[in-house]
């Protein structure tokens, strides 16, 4: 498992664990911001398409981050998992 980012205003923390079947991916989002479901769906769909992160479970603790910051942290989490082997 790996953790990137911090729970701070405009930022977010992503915990990633390899615990699923290879053709499964789960992204769990905790956020106080209401009404951005569509945006989260778009960000997560693009992320999954681009990085094919099968087998990984992501737990996101959001501090009101911008969508581009969310994409970046998710990508960083994948890279950390790859580096960890």
């Amino acid at each position: 498992m790996a953790i990137v980012g911090v729970v701070a205003s405009g930022n977010l923390e992503v915990l990633v664990e390899r615990m699923l079947a290879d053709d499964e991916c789960q992204v769990e989002i905790k956020t106080a911001a209401v009404g951005f479901g569509e945006l989260w769906n778009a960000v997560v769909a693009d992320f999954v398409e681009r990085y094919a992160p099968g087998g990984l479970k992501f737990s996101v603790n959001d501090g009101g981050a911008r969508p581009d910051t969310v994409s970046l942290r998710l990508a960083q989490a994948v890279r950390l998992m790859q580096e960890a082997g």
């Binding site: 945006l39 778009a42 960000v43 911008r66 969508p67 581009d68 910051t69 970046l72 990508a75 960083q76």
Partner: protein, 548 residues
């Protein structure tokens, strides 16, 4: 018979009356208000020197205290409306009409006063445009200016922040206008003469030095990964392929990131000597590492920057300095330099619409334009060729005859798709339009017109608008770098893909940039303290930027 000397006679009478309050040209600060009641007439055009940085604040205070039974309804023609007192003049009825260029810190209040009818607005100008009008139809009757020191003969030394002073004085003093200067001190011998005494009519020694704001200091510690990524894209995707050597940078964090990436990322790409060597730019502290690493050949400045004096003095090969060694800035000349002699402007904005028009106006704030429109516009009078200018012209009109084709200035808008408080950079409709409707303005305050913009850079990629062949392509190119904003999500995915295949849109991976490499460790300096270290201790940052 026509009297062709009426203005001169009126001037002579005002000088004579004012001189009764003066010893020679020198007036005590407690008599400054009386002097103004004597030499300023109701309805006069007054330039109260409010520059981007330097403020004639003592004279402003004296004008504010004036008896409005004697002097009222003034028409203020000043580039910067920066101090609260500048607007108090309108609240008190001292002034009525306003022509200006920039109102940064007063942008919210100026909007309220315009809506409330407290200010009769002439127009919001660019600096160069307002200066031009000083010589045609907005010539000041009275100029209230700021200088560092005067000698006993009345010559003035403006110090590094010369800024607008020579232009204001030129327009006023040579057209029967009266020039009143506030100075910090009166000395026997000036370091150098910036304004000769015969252009100065009255001098007031202020009780405290004039106010100067450090507007161009960006703390490297506050630069984000997103800004670093946009900066990397700009360097590799625009500076490098066009070979941009002569340029102007805006004041945002993305351009500060570019300055701090030149000696690291730029060096790795082998770009030293090939890009970013000649600037129209204030003395940005963030450029110190690039200067120290030998990237920069020369810089001409609009104004100075607090804390940079000793560094500039020690680097006179780079900056323009006087016989005394200190910086000589000049806003008018530097604006002209940015307009005609630079091949690129790159800066940030608050809103970009689907045509590429950009604006820093929101419904509750009117920040004005400052210099960006001059830097960020094609100079139609330009006739000298340069490689980047010709290349941009070729991309814009590939089939035209080469020797009859105009070049194009590169005008780059750089920013993250979401700004402060998650406000989207891209909008369907500029707030400036709503404002223009509410205030019944003929023109919406557009900072850079879409037809002047050549590139838009965001964390999602670069849109090259030069290569768009119609309005639809242009719109999709803009949507294609607008990220997860509503404008971005409204893109035609197939068309954006085709634009990408043609190189109109380029993603980080198309440029061989991994967004995960956009890391703060890439910056040549990570803090203000690092900048001090790079400068060999010559840069003395103002206290609000010191955290050690």
């Amino acid at each position: 018979m026509t009297d062709w000397q009426r203005h001169r006679k009126a001037f002579d009478a005002l000088i004579e009356a004012g001189s009764k309050l003066a010893k020679g040209k020198f007036v005590e600060v407690h008599d400054a208000t009386r002097l103004m009641e004597t030499v300023i007439r109701p309805g006069d055009r007054v330039c109260l020197e409010g520059d981007n940085q330097k403020q004639a604040d003592t004279l402003c205070g004296a004008l504010l205290a004036i008896d409005t039974g004697k002097v009222n309804n003034l028409h203020m023609v000043q580039s910067g409306v920066v101090l609260a007192e500048h607007l108090d003049l309108f609240d008190r009825g001292v002034a009525k009409k306003l022509d200006y260029a920039y109102s940064g810190p007063q942008s919210a209040r100026i909007a309220q006063m315009l809506f409330g009818g407290k200010i009769e607005l002439g127009a919001v100008h660019t600096y160069l445009e307002l200066f031009a009008r000083y010589f045609i139809d907005l010539t000041p009757h009275v100029a209230l200016i700021a200088a560092v020191s005067a000698d006993r003969d009345g010559n003035l030394y403006t110090g590094p922040n010369t800024e607008d002073t020579p232009t204001v004085v030129e327009a006023t003093a040579f057209k029967n206008g009266i020039v009143i200067a506030q100075v910090n001190e009166i000395v026997d011998k000036l370091p150098r003469v910036d304004i000769p005494t015969d252009r100065v009519h009255f001098i007031v020694k202020a009780e405290k030095p004039f106010f100067v704001e450090p507007l161009f200091t960006r703390d490297p510690a506050a630069i984000t990964e997103g800004q670093i990524l946009t900066a990397m894209l700009a360097i590799k995707g625009i500076y490098a392929p066009y070979g941009v050597r002569r340029l102007n940078h805006g004041i945002g964090f993305s351009t500060a990131a570019i300055e701090l990436l030149l000696p690291t990322f730029g060096e790795k790409l082998g770009l030293k000597g090939k890009i970013a060597s000649h600037f129209a730019l204030n003395p940005h502290p963030a450029l110190i590492p690039a200067i120290e690493s030998g990237w920069v050949e020369q810089i001409h400045s609009f104004g100075s920057e607090v804390g940079m004096d000793d560094y500039i003095r020690a680097r006179s090969d780079i900056y323009f300095t006087g016989s005394d060694g200190s910086l000589r800035s000049n806003r008018a000349f530097c604006q002209v330099a940015g307009l005609y002699a630079c091949d690129m402007f790159i800066g940030s904005t608050l809103q970009i619409d689907l045509q590429g028009n950009s604006s820093t106006v929101t419904t509750s704030r009117i920040a004005g334009f400052g210099g960006a429109p001059n830097m960020g516009a094609d100079a139609r009078g330009r006739r000298h060729p340069s490689a980047p200018w010709l290349q941009a012209g070729r991309e814009s009109d590939p089939t035209a005859s080469a020797r009859l084709r105009r070049g194009r200035k590169l005008v780059v808008q750089i920013g993250e798709t979401f700004g402060d408080k998650n406000v989207p950079l891209f909008v369907e409709r500029l707030d400036a339009l709503e404002l223009a409707e509410k205030l019944n303005l003929d023109l919406a305050p557009v900072m850079i017109y879409g037809d002047d913009v050549t590139h838009i850079v965001t964390e999602e990629g670069i849109a090259n608008l030069l290569q768009c062949r119609d309005a639809n392509e242009r719109e999709q190119a803009i949507r294609g770098v607008a990220g997860y904003t509503e404008v971005g999500r409204g893109r035609d995915k197939n068309m954006v893909q085709r634009l990408r295949e043609r190189g109109v849109i380029r993603r980080p991976e198309d440029l061989g940039i991994d967004p995960l490499d956009a890391d703060r460790s890439m910056l040549a300096a990570h803090s203000i303290k690092d900048l001090v270290r790079w400068s060999g201790g010559l840069y003395a940052p103002p206290s609000k930027f010191r955290n050690w």
